[in-house]
Amino acid sequence: MAVATAVPAGTWTADKIHSSIGFEVEHMVSTFRGRFEDYDTQLVDGKLVGTVAVPSVKVYDENLEAHLQSPDFFDAQLHPELRFESRELQIDEDGTVTLDGELTIKGTTKDVTAKGRYMHVEADMTGGERIGLRLEATVDRREFGLNWNAPLPKGGFVLDNDVTLVVALELVKAEV
């Protein structure tokens, strides 16, 4: 696979079969992961804009999905959407990516910096060009008002406050 450093021009949209948007957080002794099934993301002239539907959160338990949507966490009733809007994508020669942008969760907007890698193929099986973006950004969930926690009997808490958002996008050129 070739690595390029030029910011790709034009409008690119996610191939959802090969893309994912999720989060990771330490839960007592291990890493807990969740994902969002419904999202809309575009890379337009080097700027990434994405929205995520909170009610589409998926974990392995429906009760936990409901809890994640409650006021303890995302409060999907009042804030049904997460939003990310980036500034210009920066791609180093080795494909390392730095992406600054504004992240909105639960009505609070904060600057975040995502790090990751950029990949590119000139032609897939049908000749189309593809861009890969893998991005990670760690935020303190309390800054967005996701404050729930539970103390453990001998000290400490069930859930870490640092949450890593993990985005893997396989982008194809939008039909014009």
Binding site: E65, D72, D75, Q77
Partner: protein, 177 residues
């Protein structure tokens, strides 16, 4: 906007039922209180029956689902929540993911004949409602020395403020829907 009022006391002359009637008069314009009178019809919680709950439970769950906000007035028995109220909330909570209190604005108030105004029962009721996923106002209204305390003007002004916050929380949800 409809606020469902639940008194945690079954007693005919209950001060908490009376507190709900005071609250009904203090609600902001456009909001009305519907008081739930059938708490005593709810049988003891039985997890074996949670998928086919008794009629009284289904009716309470429907009333909560149809309300825009819930107001609970609770007495305090032995420093805690009355069994009938906790029992009803246990029924309402099942299944937890789809329970009608989830995301529902809720305010807990309480009256007692003593000096403390059911303050512990209120705290524990807020905790239980939080477990159900309700949008619980983190406020309390201890009405001490009932029934005289019910007539206190300062207390009624504070109750009116809390009811305004409760209704505002319900209105915010209606706008977001």
């Amino acid at each position: 906007m409809k606020v469902l009022g639940i008194s945690g006391s079954l007693r005919q002359g209950s001060y908490n039922s009376r507190l709900l009637r005071v609250a009904a008069e203090l609600l902001p314009p456009g909001a009305e209180l519907e008081v739930w009178h059938a708490l005593g019809d709810i049988p003891p919680f039985d997890a074996d029956a949670e998928h086919s709950p008794p009629v009284a439970v289904t009716a309470l769950k429907r009333a909560i689902a149809e309300a825009d906000a819930v107001l609970i007035a609770t007495p305090e028995y032995n420093h805690s929540i009355p069994g009938v109220l906790k029992n009803a909330l246990d029924w309402v909570s099942r299944p937890i993911a789809a329970n009608p209190m989830r995301g529902k604005p809720a305010l807990v108030i309480g009256a007692s004949t003593g000096m403390f105004g059911a303050v512990w029962a209120q705290a524990e009721t807020r905790k239980v409602l939080g477990a159900l996923g309700a949008r619980v106002l983190d406020e309390e209204l201890p009405v001490a020395t009932a029934p005289d305390g019910l007539d206190d003007h300062e207390l009624q002004a504070r109750l009116a403020d809390l009811l305004r916050d409760l209704v505002a929380s319900g209105a915010a949800l209606m706008r977001a829907a």
